[in-house]
Symmetry: C2
Subunit: 184 residues, 2 copies
């Protein structure tokens, strides 16, 4: 099995949220694909924040991909020049919800968001003993409502399609697994 | 909280794998975003296929997004005009691996692949008692190696970053949860 070779690359657009690259690829069987599109995204973090009272800290906001309001865990882009993934997790939680924790973020795992068409990974973190200390600091394209729900009800919210974003779902299962492992 | 309004929409490209739409959006606070890109993807299926011997049926192939060979569960696009998600699961498993099952696919859950920038859902299925009956039927851009691994070793493969694709990871946790629930 061999890798594809890129014969030519160009950018359809570049933006702070990611670039779209168009490659002309030569396959091992000598077939040529003229227009293979790759999303060059920066890595993302997602945070399972659980309060001292056992609630998960969720966000509700309008998401234009699905044209609807969705319930998700806080998350966002790592500013790779200026911060680590852990720092991004702390920052995103604070900006989107005003919550912080005196505990360090626990790394739960990282996954490619789309091996076929994207370059990046999503990194999941667990933040325990979270509490509200600040006001939200959203930018002028964000309007975010903070929603607290008992952590042990999240599984049912996923089954009922109240939480549908794959990064939130995966981060929840990783956190649940982590907590089951340390209880053993 | 209000939805965004689309002032103007155009397509950057259209392809059988998805379209890229560029929207000019008016936000509730009257701010305008000139270039919000949305991937209009069809829904995808992913299949956790487990053989009578307790192995999971995985695929190994070159993935150009990450420019590497990855271990993933079988999966692909639902041909929405001609088939149901269940039919797509049966077809993709058969085409990519030659495996089938006499049991119907069990629906495990579906999730938005990216609420912000994509329209579609990924739908996970479990197929039990799978066995090899056919040869692979890949198209001329695919070269797929079938890999069998004991299902109870998949968790370790995820922890070791041998399986990194988020759709495979999520489908595995949903399948594990499903099987734990029916054992109770």
């Amino acid at each position: 099995m061999e890798k594809w070779r890129i014969l030519e690359s160009s950018y359809v657009y570049k933006s702070p949220f990611g670039n779209l690259r168009k490659d002309i690829c030569l396959l091992p069987n000598l077939k040529i694909i003229d227009d293979f599109y790759v999303n060059e995204y920066p890595d993302w973090v997602d945070i399972i924040a659980i309060t001292k009272e056992g609630n998960i800290v969720l966000t509700k906001q309008y998401r234009h991909g699905v044209k609807d309001f969705t319930l998700e865990v806080p998350g966002g882009i790592i500013d790779s020049e200026n911060e680590s993934a852990e720092q991004a997790a702390i920052r995103e939680l604070k900006e989107e919800t005003g919550y912080i924790s005196d505990n360090l973020p626990i790394f739960l795992g990282d996954m490619h968001t789309n091996t076929s068409n994207a370059t990046n990974k999503e990194k999941s973190f667990l933040m325990l003993n979270a509490y509200k200390k600040f006001e939200q600091q959203t930018d002028d394209t964000e309007e975010i409502e903070v929603v607290l729900i008992p952590f042990n009800k999240v599984g049912q919210l996923i089954k009922n399609n109240n939480i549908t974003q794959i990064f939130s779902v995966t981060s929840y299962y990783l956190a649940k697994e982590y907590m089951q492992d340390i209880e053993k």
